[in-house]
């Protein structure tokens, strides 16, 4: 404890001889800001934003500034643990073991599985920021059963945008608020994308930009919007389609952009009898090799009144109309099909669905269209397009958008996000100043080249998986299915149930493995994801599944390994616990092979460098994977003679190449023997030191002429190819009309050769793989009695918390120790629920008792709460009586991971049928008061778990943090 001091200026507390300052990268959320950590006498004194870092430019958020309390939290695990014999999963009864024992257990088990049936090992990871490594490990192991967390996060946002414009929000692109005049933020919680969004938003507002927030709830960013437009959850697609209708009707689209930068002018075969129905007409049909759009489509020339090859110099095609080719084939430009599609999606129609008045929708369309047209930006930047035409300027239409999970986490989200991307495109805002801008390695082809395996042949014992663990299907033949069209993966990703599930379906992995559908597995390794709590739907039953046994007494999921730095609810269920380090104790890379932190101006990647030694016996998970990879002799981790190839993870990062002498590794900066190359080059033994000297970040700024219009920018595309970001330098035209989706639909209609869906899924595929966006109610709404459950229930994360990570944090938990259900005061009064009173919220799947908070900033048909504030009793180093477990609650108990049995299937995931994105926000509920005699405690409750060996309950009522043991008096 520090002594009180007279004059704060008379004494300097900081004895400089004890001070050490190091740069690294934050990990209190997924932003990955640069931080500068001051350590005094071995303890963290101060964590500040690094002013020289391109991402956060010196600022830091509430979480980042509370990193100290994460580091020293009593919720930390410090020892490898083995479940005590005779205890049940969930009891949190463990015995300490050594790392040697832990490795021996894993080596024996995993080697046996790999030699016999590699699919029986599954690895699923949370928001780990090391998917380049976890993916590599899984591929090398040879299991098809790997995914990161995207399926339960926002994969619809990535997939919907990447399958339309070749890039997406957050890591891969974003709104250019430096130059935008109108900014529309829709369906964005308070955390996606945190500090960069806050920095940009404040600059934007100070520059006089107009900010419109469309969201059922007005909190966080929406609070400072110039206008808040409340919308009913899951109806965003209806809004985008109506906006598109109005913009086209008023002629407010950017015709030149639509013709030259999208496939809207390309002619679609309308001959229903043809196998080519719904496909673009090709003027020559060479084999189209590679993952790019061949420039062999047709436009209709207005002057010659006949078809002509696309992008013929000087030709002005029709966007609207219907035409006949010489052979009689009826054709329409794709734009005509879009117009036909949105014809009935009027503002009046959308008003009834979204709850937004028709006049507001029209006015919004006019604001967007007029701003885009009349506030044009012209930058004197010369560039050459992919067809060789030179331009003396870059033009921008300054309307920018940002969206995230509010759109994504619905079962209609993929088509909603397609609709948004199309709206952004017809306004002419893609990779232009003031609109949406890409970040390297995007734009990539639509879809990108990576593909998974396609049959069981690709999964063989003692052999790496043939294909990437996650890929981008372009065609039904790319699906990872057996000869009957059934799934090969435990989560059924890349199967006909969810063909474009580009980030897997982690949220179904446990349920499927428990049921043995499509098969049983042996070992499930979960890294840093709270699958027995807030990261799973149907939490209560999933906990039971984890603990469920067969008739022979064997667990249905025989072996469960959890690696985490903290005592999560999931750790309590593990058979084997591997204690991870914190972000301040390890090396990490934000790799170009994963999701780097690139800026609009060019690629950026970054690293973490340890500031402190590991606590207890914690080991970074990366080291665990390198060790296991070496022990299992996975080819990437061993020399030809089978000896270990990499000393440790830092050594791996420097020396690993994606293929022999490929020159591509985990880090793009300072490659080549002396650090003279970037993106591609021989390993550089001093690479870590060079990152360390440069604020832990490598930033390559592209020439100005390569910074815009990158989908069609010859200079950029060739640069990207030269530096191996992409395989082809072909233009990436926007898919207003998605031939990729049409291919799946054609298969479902039996129109095409190749892989065919199982009959029971044909109608589902035909409906949802519509090449043009359409609106349908979320699946759960379609299957719910809406008279009984009329309300929508949604969650968001507060700015001061990241998922379940921060309840252990003594400072952050004082900001959010428990959560309320926020209910519009009118809605609450109608249900006879008082402000602050105990109440029930119930869906067709379950019910939760919680406390009500009246609100005027929520749409009356919606109730909401903060996600993951509620905790199981005793978890996260908190006492059994902590507010988080007694007053806090999870909405997850109301949400099912599977849809009710219906015509398409009995156990279909509660997800988008295109992408497998978890439909978190589709749940429908009702609310009613708790009875007067009910206890004032949230329900359901779970038994308090004891403290695990190696963790210590905080022994005092008082925390008086003062960094530096020797400076304390």
């Amino acid at each position: 404890m520090s002594s009180p001091l007279h004059d704060p200026l008379s004494t300097t507390v900081d004895d400089n001889s004890l001070i050490e300052v190091k740069n690294t990268t934050c990990y209190m959320c997924a932003c990955r800001c640069g931080i500068r950590v001051t350590v005094r006498d071995g303890e963290v004194r101060y964590i500040q934003g690094n002013p020289d870092h391109p991402l956060n430019k010196g600022v830091i958020c509430a979480k980042g500034a509370s990193g100290i309390m994460k580091q020293y939290s009593p919720g930390r695990l410090t020892k490898p643990l083995l479940r005590k014999a005779g205890s049940d999963r969930g009891d949190n009864e463990f015995e300490e073991i050594s790392w040697d024992q832990a490795y021996a257990i894993l080596e024996e088990r995993l080697a046996h599985i790999r030699a016999t049936d590699p699919k029986k090992f599954a690895l699923f990871t949370g928001r780990d920021q090391m998917q380049a490594l976890t993916g590599l490990f899984s591929k090398q192991y040879g299991t098809p059963n790997y995914a990161a967390h995207g399926g339960l996060c926002s994969v619809n946002m990535a997939a919907g945008m990447i399958y339309t414009i070749g890039g997406s929000f957050w890591e891969f692109g974003g709104p250019d608020l430096d130059r935008a005049k109108l900014f529309v933020m829709i369906g964005t919680a308070e955390d996606h994308h945190s500090n960069p969004m806050k920095i940009a938003l404040s600059k934007f507002k100070r520059n006089g930009g107009r900010f419109i927030a469309i969201n059922p709830v007005r909190s966080g960013y929406a609070a400072i919007a110039d206008e808040w437009i409340p919308i009913k959850p899951g109806t965003d697609g209806a809004l985008f389609l109506a906006l598109t209708n109005e913009i086209i009707k008023q002629g407010l689209y950017d015709r030149d952009f639509v013709i030259n930068q999208t496939n809207a002018a390309e002619l679609v075969n309308m001959d229903e009898k043809s196998t080519e129905y719904g496909m673009f007409v090709r003027f020559e049909v060479p084999k189209e090799e590679g993952c790019f759009d061949a420039q062999n489509k047709l436009w209709w020339d207005r002057d010659l009144n006949k078809p002509i090859s696309m992008h013929t110099e000087g030709v002005d095609p029709y966007l609207l109309g219907e035409f006949k080719l010489d052979d009689g084939t009826p054709v329409k430009p794709a734009f005509q099909l879009l117009v036909d599609r949105v014809k009935n999606y009027t503002a009046d129609w959308a008003a009834g669905i979204t709850g937004i008045p028709a006049e507001t929708i029209k006015r919004l369309a006019h604001e967007m269209g007029i701003t885009a047209r009349d506030e044009k930006i012209e930058l004197p930047i010369a560039w050459t397009d992919a067809w060789g035409k030179e331009h003396d300027r870059v033009t921008g239409n300054p309307v920018a958008f940002h969206a995230m999970r509010g759109l994504a986490a619905h079962s209609n989200g993929f088509q909603t996000i397609r609709a948004m991307s199309i709206l952004m495109s017809i306004l002419g805002t893609i990779d232009r100043p003031g609109g949406f801008r890409h970040k390297a390695p995007f734009p990539r082809p639509i879809p990108p080249c990576a593909k998974t395996g396609t049959s069981w042949d690709d999964v063989q014992p003692n052999t790496p998986l043939n294909g990437m663990p996650l890929g981008w299907p372009a065609d039904p033949d790319d699906l990872f299915v057996d000869e009957h069209g059934g799934p090969i993966r435990i989560d059924k990703a890349f199967s006909w149930e969810h063909p474009l599930s580009v980030h897997g379906l982690m949220h179904n992995a446990i349920t499927n493995a428990w049921r043995g559908d499509p098969y049983k597995i042996d070992t499930l390794l979960i890294f840093m994801s709270n699958m027995a709590w807030n990261s799973t739907m149907n939490t209560e039953q999933v906990r039971q599944m984890l603990n469920d046994k067969d008739a022979d007494g064997e667990y249905k999921i025989p072996f469960l390994v959890v690696c985490d730095a903290f005592q999560s609810e999931t750790v309590a269920f593990a058979d084997l616990v591997l204690p991870d380090t914190t972000y301040l104790e390890r090396h990490d890379v934000m790799s170009m092979l994963d999701r780097p932190i690139s800026e609009f101006e060019g690629p950026v990647d970054s690293v973490r460098i340890p500031v402190l030694p590991p606590t207890g016996e914690c080991k970074p998970f990366q080291e665990v994977l390198i060790e296991l990879g070496s022990r299992l002799k996975l080819p990437a981790f061993v020399n030809e003679n089978g000896t270990r190839k990499f000393r440790d993870y830092p050594d791996f990062v420097v020396n690993y190449e994606t293929a022999p002498d490929s020159g591509i590794g985990f880090l793009s900066g300072w490659r080549g023997k002396g650090g003279e190359k970037f993106m591609k080059g021989e390993p550089n033994p001093n690479q870590w030191e060079m990152y360390e000297k440069n604020n832990c970040v490598y930033h390559h700024e592209l020439p100005k002429s390569y910074q815009y219009m990158r989908n069609w920018n010859q200079g950029y595309l060739e640069w990207a190819k030269r530096h191996s970001l992409t395989r082809y330098a072909e233009p990436i035209n926007i898919h207003i009309y998605s031939e990729v989706l049409q291919k799946f639909r054609s298969a479902a209609q039996g129109r095409s050769d190749g892989k065919q869906p199982p009959d029971h899924l044909r109608a589902r595929i035909e409906t949802h793989f519509d090449p043009l966006p359409f609106y349908s109610d979320p699946l759960e709404s379609q299957l719910t009695d809406l008279h009984k459950y009329p309300l929508n229930a949604i969650t968001q994360r507060p700015m001061a918390m990241y998922h379940s990570w921060d309840s252990q944090n003594a400072w952050l938990r004082q900001i959010h120790a428990h959560n309320y259900l926020h209910v519009n005061s009118k809605t609450a009064r109608a249900a006879n629920i008082e402000d602050g009173a105990w109440m029930w919220i119930e869906s067709m799947h379950g019910k939760v008792r919680c406390m009500c908070r009246y609100s005027e900033s929520v749409e009356p048909g919606t109730v909401w709460t903060w996600n993951a504030i509620g905790k199981a009793s005793g978890a996260w180093g908190l006492s059994g009586k902590a507010n988080e477990s007694k007053k806090g609650f999870l909405l997850n108990h109301l949400i099912s991971e599977e849809l009710p049995a219906h015509k398409d299937g009995d156990h279909l995931s509660n997800s988008d049928p295109v992408t497998g994105q978890a439909g978190w926000y589709d749940v429908r509920v009702r609310i009613y008061p708790a009875a007067a005699d009910e206890p004032h405690i949230t329900s359901p409750q779970f038994d308090t778990i004891p403290t695990a060996p190696g963790s210590k309950k905080f022994g005092s009522h008082w925390l008086r943090y003062f960094a530096g043991k020797r400076t304390k008096k």
Binding site: M1, L5, H6, D7, P8, T12, R40, Y46, Q48, G49, P51, G58, V59, I60, C61, K63, A65, S66, I68, P74, E190, S194, N195, K198, I199, L201, K205, R210, F211, Y221, A222, A223, I224, D226, W228, P230, G251, R255, Y318, R363, H366, E367, I370, D374, M799, A810, Q814, I815, A817, E856, L878, S879, K881, A882, F954, H957, W958, R960, A963, G964
Partner: protein
């Protein structure tokens, strides 16, 4: 005369609490520390903070404003907390107007917190002394820090740069100019405390749409031959008219 102060721009504050924890982080291990927490991992945790953000709603749905309101000691020019202090622990520095507490003299009687109309003072229940914002007086004059970092921790942290720091008595300072030009105001001036900290109000940007912006000759639909046209082999007036 110099009066250091914060100017807080409610127009851009998104309520992220960066100022709250960065303040605690700097000050708990600084000259004003430690800043204790009671029940840090148990029921009803509560601790000392120099700065808190309150969020409230104004109006009735759908005409609602959500306001995030960061609040800390306002370093009043006429601080009511100073004269009530029986031991002289609470004082205002002449050289820069910062209001501080001398912990050694403080007896924890709480008179000052009762006198403060803004609720800006917090008794550290562990040390039993009154604590409050020091404007990071141990940062802002520290010559070992780069000049750009000689600012309160909350100002450096704020992701929306909603917190400005400077001398409100210097008419040419950034804070004075901002107060003057953006309608900066004081909290409860009627109390006569002359708070040095100022707030900037919300400002709205609107768009006016003129009718002629929707009816233009360069409407691209004009290029799409959308008006119906008979085939050229159909009869026209030109073929049959006799006069």
């Amino acid at each position: 005369m110099k009066q250091l102060a914060l100017v807080i721009d409610l127009n851009v504050c998104v309520g992220c609490h960066a100022c709250v924890t960065s303040c605690k982080e700097w000050n708990t291990s600084g000259t004003a520390g430690s800043m204790s927490d009671f029940n840090p991992y148990e029921e009803d945790p509560t601790g000392t903070f120099f700065n808190r953000v309150q969020t409230f709603e104004i109006g009735t749905y759908p005409k609602t404003e959500t306001v995030h309101f960061p609040k800390s000691c306002l370093h009043c020019e006429e601080p009511p907390c100073v004269p009530v202090c029986p031991t002289g622990a609470s004082y205002k520095r002449e050289e820069d107007g910062i209001v501080l507490v001398d912990y050694d003299k403080c007896i924890g009687c709480k008179y000052c917190s009762w006198a403060c109309p803004y609720g800006a003072r917090e008794l550290d229940e562990s040390q039993k002394v009154m604590k409050k914002c020091t404007l990071c007086v141990d940062r802002i004059y520290d010559q070992t820090l780069p000049e750009s970092e000689r600012k309160p921790a909350c100002v450096l942290a704020c992701p929306t740069s909603a917190r400005l720091f400077g001398d409100v008595k210097d008419p040419d300072s950034n804070v004075s100019i901002t107060i003057r030009e953006n309608g900066g105001y004081q909290l409860m001036p009627e109390w006569g405390t002359k708070p040095a900290n100022h707030y900037l109000p919300r400002r709205k940007t609107k768009m006016t749409i003129h009718k002629d912006e929707l009816t233009r000759v360069d409407n691209p639909l004009n290029k799409e031959r959308q008006l119906p046209m008979p085939d050229s082999d159909e009869q026209t007036l030109d073929d049959i008219m006799s006069w």
